[in-house]
Symmetry: C2
Subunit: 416 residues, 2 copies
Amino acid sequence: MSYNKILVSLGGGPTAVINQSIVGVVLEARKCHQIDQIYGSMRGARGIIDEDFSDLTSETRQNLELVANTPSSALGATRDRPDHKYCMEMLRVIKAHEIGGFYYIGGNESTETVEIIAREARRTNYDLCCIHIPKTIDNDIACNDHTPGFPSAARFVAQAFMSVNLESRALPGVRLVVVMGRNAGFLTAASALGKKYPDDGPHLIYLPERPFVLDDFLAEVRSIHAEKGRCVVAISEGIRDAAGRSIVEDLAARAVAAGGHPAAPGTLADLLAHEVRSQLGIAEVSGLTLGYAQRSFVGCVSDVDQHEAREVGEKAVQYGVRGRLDGSVTIRRRGFYSVDYGLVPLADVGGRTRTMDDAFIAPSNTGVTDAFRFYLRPLLGSGMPDMYLLRPNRVPKREAAAAPTQDTAPAPRLCS
Amino acid sequence: MSYNKILVSLGGGPTAVINQSIVGVVLEARKCHQIDQIYGSMRGARGIIDEDFSDLTSETRQNLELVANTPSSALGATRDRPDHKYCMEMLRVIKAHEIGGFYYIGGNESTETVEIIAREARRTNYDLCCIHIPKTIDNDIACNDHTPGFPSAARFVAQAFMSVNLESRALPGVRLVVVMGRNAGFLTAASALGKKYPDDGPHLIYLPERPFVLDDFLAEVRSIHAEKGRCVVAISEGIRDAAGRSIVEDLAARAVAAGGHPAAPGTLADLLAHEVRSQLGIAEVSGLTLGYAQRSFVGCVSDVDQHEAREVGEKAVQYGVRGRLDGSVTIRRRGFYSVDYGLVPLADVGGRTRTMDDAFIAPSNTGVTDAFRFYLRPLLGSGMPDMYLLRPNRVPKREAAAAPTQDTAPAPRLCS
């Protein structure tokens, strides 16, 4: 038999638009005569194990729409990473509640969760439709042009770098800014969308797709700083050396070897700032870590991202209820700019990590190409702030400035 | 004689609306028949010493309006802090260029710069009108209800805490967030404007106006975390102990005494996070430093702040050109909500630091009062984002969750 109850849940951390996908599932499911009840699990996978469900069937449409526009997850989240045993527990609760549709919003790892549950449900002849709905700020899910959550985080990063660049114009020096993304550099690369004028920062971008060589980094920072008097650098938290070792661990180990304290070795931004200060002898160096604000910043959301996150939720229910299909919803790009959606087998998505295409990375390895800007710009949505400079119109100097201090006014001059 | 040239310059760091004040001066001065030329100094006081002036007289109005809406300073800034000798050099250049009006945008220290230059101009019979235009994100200038730059920074802080609070609802634990403001706690207190629901964070706010006691802090964090399972804390970068010593220096000294590295002792946020982790045994603790993004964040600006920053620039020129007065422009509040402007003697403002009124600080010392919320809310401007939660509607548990794992579907139940 097929059960007329569905469950929406999520794996991994929140994004600025995950509530859009939750609400997309709920409102679309309410239209389906096959569905009587819609449960949401609190705290993602953990809430399934704990049988901690909220019945969303009778939440007002008005409040659902308001929640959809609120960043972070209205159903909470968990740091648990379900393994096979954990998935079996989830399935046991799903069966106990006679749930017929499982809608799971998440990234790469979440696809594997859905795949295990789908397989075990089939093996035990339990009638369960399993749909994975893409979500991740890292943009690293295979088979997708991009994934909901990434565009809004990218917009925050672009706006933050506009701000850092404007600050750097006013107060020069070296500014190192660390951006999220352990395996894929998309979010760090988004910093380039904060550039407008030719000499705008970020002047250097370090991605996890390319090995990070500390000496090269120092030489590049030195060169930009010498040329422009300032240097804005975007650095992925996931940068690794040629052997694949994390740079933050390398630098922390160096600090400890130099007499440092293993318990609080500092952040990647602080550690790199210390290297620039001590090895290049530049006084004005600051390290900034954008941190988790970038994934749920209230008031900095892409409307394109909101619409698409809503649509992947709606499409998931259409595939699940009307098509009785298992799979992962995907976003495909059409034209400039439009998308449509598809459903691919869970196995095509699970266990694979998409990274930045070579065509997106500049030959210098420390920048992005126009192909990347063309790719990202439409995702940032409408109403992106712009920035403007005064046109230079320098006044000729008067030699008085070089003369010794005098306490009386200089004689009036004929030339103005 | 009176010279028909004016100079606009600035002291201290940029803000999100300082360009509004620059443009306010320029456009108002263009209307005055007494003024023929309007110079801006590049890099603030430093640009005066270096005779680095840009002639703004013929910049297009259209571009001035676009620049006005751009955060940070279009004229650059400097880290120099002018002393008496430095001010004498500035005056020498002002005289060499036959400048008759000096409009200086800045905070407390900048008032003293203007005062010295005004006094020395008078003493040497040089006809110079000197006006200080208020600006600081710290909101610590005497004689003002508030100061341009603060409302936009406060809006960023409020929106950042909305985001941190929503993240904390999704992924609990302890979140420590450090906010700018060395002497006055206004900006840290603005975190309270990110609260909506009764259990929203920040749950604790530590201001420089009250002595910081590490043991009390740890006890308060422990108590909130035990009660709510999470704790969001706003901490001023300027917190000090009862003897007036900086807490970050105290903690860094402790870390060094415990074998730490003096060169990279970590930020205040990281050091406090380390204390919470090690002394309270809470695993999920994060430290976040909002950093300089909070003062020029592109796309997070208060329209009220923009309008007022423009007006203090306009009023400055009216006082200077039409009134031939020296002084500091002030903002006074009228009603809920409206302001008007005044001019006070430079000596009334210089050398004084305004801090949070006692009436703004909760008796607990770790929160703010409704009087503060009432004071701050209108400054944040229109279009503040709002946030919404799902209404809880818990589903009764089914005992199956407690039963041992079974691989077959449970028998359908009569109760739904």
